[in-house]
Each structure stands twice: as C-alpha cells, then as structure tokens.
C-alpha cells in the first residue's frame, strides 16, 4: 500500500498527470474535510482544496520525504485556510450569510452534526485546527508539531484546551437548540 503510494508520488513528480489524478482521488476527501472544518463553508472549502492540489502539483519536486505526502498536503491546505480567514477578517462578512451555506447531504443525524460544526465555529482557528488534525485525521502529536512548526508542548496544551472548549461549546449549542425546540 505504502509502496504503491510512493510509486504514484514519484511518477507524479516526473510530470505524470495520470498518477497525480489518482493521488487527487485518494486525498480529495481528506483535504476538503479539513478545509471545510476550518472555513465552515463548502464553496470556500472546495476552492481551497483545488488550490491546495495545484500548489502540491507544482511543488512536488520540493517534497523531501515521499512518505510525508499526506502531512505536507495538509500543511499546504492549512496555509491556504489561514490566508482565507485573514481575508475574511479584513472583509468582515456577517456570520449569518455563511451559516446558511453549512450543511449538505450527509447520512446520520444532520441536526446533531450541525450542532457539532457550529460548536467548532465557536473555537479559534488554532483550536479548530488542533481538533481536526488530532481527532478527525488522527495525526500524532509529533506529526502535528512538525506540520505546524510549533513545539510539542504547545501541541499538547492546544489540543487539551481545544477539547475543553469544544465540549463546552457543544453543551451550549445543544442546550440552546433544544430550548428553542421546546419553546417552538
């Protein structure tokens, strides 16, 4: 599996577009999911994912370790997400516009998932990122430290604080929604 992936990456590095298409197919959900978690907007997440793959394609020669492709790609997406968030901050849009664009056609309990995603939005980008990298994507503390270029201790405390805040935000979100349902 790993060897097959390495072969694909090496072929893509030599300009083989078919090999790169296979890589996109393999990683598109991961990159999109991360961008969506950071930006809470499907359209923007799609733009970022597309841009991340283009940057990855044009920078493949710079990838030092082929086995670290996944974290390298996430790092590219992370930088693009922060750029978007900065831009968003400058333009100051109303949050309500964006809230309407959250959602989709996922299976399971959509109300519950909406609570969770809205609770995620209450966190700072750094805390959101910590939850996404550790709890959603399952990267180790060491991998996250390398990816974000921060000390291991900072990673641990950031994950701890993010989980604490997310737990509080979910409780609050659930209480508010249930309260409204009862009142309605």
């Amino acid at each position: 599996m790993e060897q097959a992936l390495e072969r694909l990456i090496r072929r893509a590095r030599q300009g083989d577009q078919e090999a790169f298409a296979l890589l996109v197919g393999q990683y598109k959900d991961k990159v999109f999911r991360y961008a969506y978690g950071m930006l809470s907007d499907r359209m923007e997440a799609e733009d970022v994912a597309q841009e991340a793959f283009l940057k990855a394609y044009t920078s493949l020669a710079k990838l030092q370790q082929v086995y670290a492709f996944s974290s390298w790609l996430t790092q590219i997406a992370s930088r693009l997400c922060y750029d978007r968030l900065q831009k968003r901050k400058r333009e100051q849009p109303t949050d309500d516009d964006r809230l309407e664009r959250i959602g989709g056609s996922e299976k399971g309990d959509p109300d519950l998932y909406l609570d969770i995603r809205q609770a995620m939005r209450a966190l700072s980008p750094q805390h959101r990122e910590a939850i996404l990298l550790r709890d959603v994507e399952g990267y180790s503390y060491e991998e996250i430290a390398a990816m974000l270029e921060i000390p291991l201790g900072t990673v641990k405390s950031r994950i701890r604080n993010a989980r604490l805040l997310l737990r509080q935000a979910i409780k609050l979100e659930t209480e508010e929604n249930h309260g409204e349902a009862y009142r309605g």
């Binding site: 590095r13 030599q14 300009g15 083989d16 577009q17 790169f20 298409a21 996109v24 197919g25 598109k28 959900d29 990159v31 999109f32 999911r33 969506y36 978690g37 499907r42 799609e46 994912a49 597309q50 793959f53 283009l54 940057k55 990855a56 394609y57 044009t58 920078s59 493949l60 020669a61 710079k62 390298w72 790092q75 590219i76 930088r79 693009l80 750029d83 989709g104 996922e106 299976k107 399971g108 519950l112 998932y113 969770i116 995603r117 995620m120 939850i131 996404l132 550790r134 709890d135 959603v136 503390y141 641990k156 994950i159 701890r160 989980r163 604490l164 997310l166 737990r167 979910i170």
Partner: protein, 169 residues
C-alpha cells in the same frame, strides 16, 4: 480522592501519559464521579466530531476541476524547443569546424606530422610509467570509472528533476 485531574484527561485520552500518571488518573476516576463523567464526555465528543466530519465528502467535480487546471502545466519532459536548440548547436559546431579546417588547410601536412610525433612520445611515456608503477595505473583507472559513473548518475538525476519551482505558499 485528591484534587480533580481534568487537565490530564486529554493526554489520557491520547494515551500520552506516563505509567504512573495513568495509574493516578484511573485511581482518581474510580472515586470521582465528576472527573469520570468529564472523561466520558471527552470520549463522546471525539467520536461525534470524527463521525460528523468523516461524513463530509468532497464534491464530485473537484477532481475534474483540479485536473483541468493542471493540464496546461507542462510536464517535466524535454520539450521540442530543447531538441531544436540541440540541433542548432550541433550544426553551428560543424560549421565552425569546417571553417577552421579550410583556414588550416595549407598547414595540414605539418600539423599531422607534429601531432603524430607528440602522440607517439606520449604513448611511449605512458607505457613506461604503467610498467614501472602498475598500482598507480589501476588507481587512476578506478578513479576515472568512478568519475564517469558519478557524472552519469548526476546527469540522470538532473534530467528526471522537475523544472517547476513554485513553493507551497
């Protein structure tokens, strides 16, 4: 019961505590309902977040859009322009040699005689040194082979190297 250990629950969840710390946390949770409940909530939130985000899938059109954007970007193969350039260089070299030959034509016999004598003397000297110092000759030969192999590998790596230089951001 001791003081609450909520700040250690995150590391406990990731199995990132030392053995002693883990035993302390487990002993505390056995006797503390609040910390035990907090841990259950951490586990539940992690599961919910994971499930919620893993149900998010990229739009079908994403892959196509990426490949469409990439198609015009040239692959890392030598272009036709490279071959035309190479052909032009070789042609120029041939023309230069022809001109030089035309200029030097009157002196051709003298040049060939001098060249022959110099080559003959050099070969005789080389034969003399090889027979007197065979180990030096073998060392020289090995060095030349190593140099040739190294150059070949470098050239191969350079030809395989992508010409695209843009960084991640």
């Amino acid at each position: 019961m001791g003081k609450h250990i909520e700040d250690k629950l995150s590391a406990y969840l990731d199995d990132a505590l030392t053995t002693d710390e883990r035993i302390d946390v487990e002993e505390h949770m056995d006797s503390c309902a609040a910390c035990s409940e907090a841990f259950r909530e951490y586990v539940a939130v992690r599961e919910l977040v994971r499930t919620a985000f893993h149900s998010v899938k990229a739009p079908e059109r994403l892959e196509e859009a990426v490949m469409e954007a990439i198609r015009p970007i040239p692959a890392a193969k030598p272009s036709k322009r490279f071959f035309y350039g190479l052909a032009a260089c070789l042609l120029s070299l041939l023309m230069l040699l022809a001109v030089l030959f035309a200029i030097m034509a009157p002196y051709t016999t003298t040049l060939i005689t001098v060249g022959y004598r110099v080559t003959d003397n050099l070969l005789q000297a080389a034969g003399h040194y090889v027979s007197s110092l065979p180990s030096a000759f073998i060392g020289l030969l090995a060095g030349a082979i190593l140099l040739l192999t190294g150059s070949g590998l470098t050239l191969k790596a350079l030809l395989n190297h992508s010409p695209l230089k843009e960084g991640p951001s």
